[in-house]
């Protein structure tokens, strides 16, 4: 597949969505239905790989690019994924010194606290998938305590969980 066309199709999908997998219907319409570049099975593979792997769910567009055009396609998918992120910088520049105003600071802190509530609301459905037995419950509890109470680097929390997951598979 032509790389420029691939980029334009993927960036159209990412620019018209506001979260990781929200671009999926647009990608499916363009790649599976209209152009027959991918099958539904391949699109599912791309989504599954993004769910198994680390990083944002929107990273599935890298897989889509890879399945459509190999390694160069993966690079194009990556470029299409990151392009919209930089649109935030003009918004930050516009805010600039206005953000230091007392009422603006109060609004910012309210958004911060709402962010804590949003984190909890996102964690709740994830917990239903993640907690499958005593071991996963113990991992949730241990990581919660380590993150909330200690100053331990989060890297060790993640690495510890990975080791536990590997050991549980091997033994």
């Amino acid at each position: 597949m032509n790389l420029v066309v691939l980029y334009l199709l993927l960036v159209k999908a990412t620019l018209t969505s506001f979260s990781g997998l929200a671009s999926l219907p647009v990608v499916r319409t363009d790649f599976v239905v209209r152009r027959h570049v991918l099958t539904d099975r391949q699109l599912n593979t791309a989504v599954a790989a993004s769910r198994i792997g680390p990083g944002p769910l929107g990273i599935y567009v890298v897989s889509v690019g890879y399945l459509a055009a190999g390694a160069p396609g993966a690079c194009v998918g990556w470029l299409a994924m990151i392009t919209p992120a930089f649109l935030i910088i003009p918004m930050l520049q516009f805010l600039g010194a206005r953000a230091e105003h007392r009422r603006a600071r109060a609004v910012a802190r309210a958004v911060l606290f709402a962010g804590a509530g949003l984190m909890l609301s996102a964690a709740a459905p994830m917990a239903r998938d993640a907690i499958t037995g005593p071991l996963s419950l113990a991992i949730v509890a241990a990581s919660l305590i380590l993150i909330a109470i200690t100053r331990l680097d989060s890297l060790w929390v993640m690495l510890g969980a990975a080791v536990v997951g590997m050991l549980s598979f091997l033994f």
Binding site: G53, P54, S63, W78, M81, A85, A108, A110
Partner: protein
């Protein structure tokens, strides 16, 4: 606030990019906690980055990374943050795509991913508690708790989108200003 080096920004974002599973929310939770631990970003700037990232098209967490990188080191920081969090993770996802496409499954990776997802859940709850606790010092606990719980109820029970919840928080924050 501490001034990080470019290598520090690249190091933090790249390792968060390859060690945090479960999507953008756990990634933001981990980054929030690491910014706090390293004293890189004020709570207000974190909040602006968090709020505006929801208004930015595309993958929200990447806009969040661009914003926080921009705050700590300007455009170079934004570029470094976005590249660092996406490149290693993209290489991994291509490798997983190959493995998944060939075998249809990858049980060891799945087992590790499940454990990391559980850790991500604990991390998100821990980071949310840490955020409220650290910002409600000196007896100012009512506003943080009311807004955080209100946001949780609106998002989880009333099924409002994150953007709508943030919009509600903006209104509350505008009219409810603590002395």
């Amino acid at each position: 606030m501490a001034q990080p080096r470019l290598s520090g920004v690249i190091g933090l974002f790249s390792r968060v990019g390859v060690t945090v599973f479960g999507g953008g929310d756990p990634t933001i939770a981990i980054l929030q906690r690491e910014f706090y631990r390293r004293d890189w970003l004020s709570p207000e700037k974190f909040a602006i980055a968090f709020g505006l990232a929801r208004l930015t098209p595309g993958t929200n967490v990447l806009a969040f990374c661009a914003a926080t990188g921009w705050y700590v080191l300007g455009f170079l920081g934004a570029l470094a943050a976005v590249l660092a969090i996406t490149i290693p993770a993209s290489v991994l996802v291509v490798w997983l795509t190959r493995a998944y496409d060939l075998t249809g499954h990858y049980p060891l990776a799945q087992s590790i991913a499940n454990a990391l997802l559980a850790a991500a859940v604990g991390t998100m709850v821990g980071a949310a508690l840490l955020l409220v606790r650290t910002q409600s010092s000196r007896g100012r606990w009512l506003r943080p708790i009311v807004i955080a719980l209100g946001a949780f109820v609106l998002a989880y029970f009333a099924k409002l989108s994150p953007l709508q919840v943030i919009g509600a928080a903006v209104v509350v924050g505008f009219f409810w200003v603590e002395e």
